[in-house]
Assembly symmetry: C2
Homo-oligomer: 204 residues x 2
């Protein structure tokens, strides 16, 4: 599945390129094979190294494992996402912690003053938390794929309801709900098109 | 540099794991080795396959190549980012197109009505563009590393000034400025700590 451009310029293993990008697909159904705690620990242990601004690491994740919690989550999903969220071996709610700055002096010890110098304003902090947690959602998705699993990321849910249900402290903003597991029967839609290079990139 | 958890659960090549995550670092200085158009095309050709909500692909990128444009960009960077932005072989401004919905019927032909059904509200559209473009920034960063290059992503810049300078249409929101190249002398800071698994993940 490789391409001439990839042969010429991409230096990671071809199998890894396929597994992470070219052959990977968003799964809409899953087998019953469980996704264990150890899987998730291994994924985090790999992707935690990817960068965030000021090393702020605002991503927080709730793994929805009990049938009761799963049922509560499914209530808040849009209709087209309910069945797959009910059936996935593991579902993760990925959220931005808008009060990440409390951890910042420990996580960014080279300039502990950043907590107050840059992140005192709640609006600045929220925007930074959302941007950086979104980066971490993408890193996590790559980690899921690196573990040989398929991800089904979704933004089609009632974010206010999910926040109230799973983050009652009011300081977290759910960004993505992600189904995780081995792909089941008819797991894929047909591949959708992608924008051409010149529709995305300009040089000045 | 691998770990027992990675050996047990991560199935992509160990070298790729190191190159993308464990050994990769944010570079603060670069060699003079150029980053070509073909490099960037190969990176995009790989990472374009990673998912966005409704396949919306809101990321837009300006590659700042001319000395004049580079000088204009450096003006808007925070002081601590000026020297490295001036010196990097390639600098990319990565932005969210808040009017991505015009392309949506072509990119999401399975439900072209999504353009109006979900993205008529400018605030909903902006939030969606920022979230999904941030995912794509992370995918792009992984692609830079997959090409054997180092990335220096920065959020320390005047976003209003950068938007006016490089996206005068007023519909793009710059998210990250990224230096790209081969790492130069003393390119790395000491590695910063990461949150422990239990500080990030909870199960319900």
């Amino acid at each position: 599945m490789t391409t001439q451009l990839a042969k010429d310029y991409i230096t990671i293993d071809e199998g890894a390129q396929d597994q992470l990008f070219r052959r990977a697909r968003t799964a809409n159904s899953f087998t019953d094979e469980p996704v264990t705690e150890a899987h998730v620990r291994a994924i985090y242990d790999l992707v935690k190294w990817a960068p965030t601004s000021f090393n702020q690491q605002p991503l927080r994740v709730v793994l929805v494992r009990s049938p009761q919690a799963r049922a509560r989550l499914v209530e808040h999903m849009w209709d087209n996402n309910k069945a797959k969220t009910a059936g996935a071996p593991l579902v993760a709610v990925l959220a931005a912690d808008t009060e990440f700055h409390h951890e910042l002096p420990a996580q960014f010890p080279v300039f502990p003053e950043a907590k107050d110098a840059f992140f005192a304003d709640p609006e600045v902090r929220r925007d930074s938390a959302v941007l950086n947690a979104a980066l971490q959602v993408a890193y996590f998705l790559m980690g899921v794929r690196a573990a040989g699993l398929a991800a089904g990321p979704m933004s089609g849910f009632d974010a206010v309801g999910v926040a109230k249900e799973f983050f009652p402290d009011g300081i977290h903003r759910p960004l993505v709900v992600m189904n995780i597991g081995l792909p089941g029967e008819n797991a894929w839609w047909d591949r959708l098109p992608r924008l051409a290079y010149d529709e995305v990139f300009a040089s000045v």
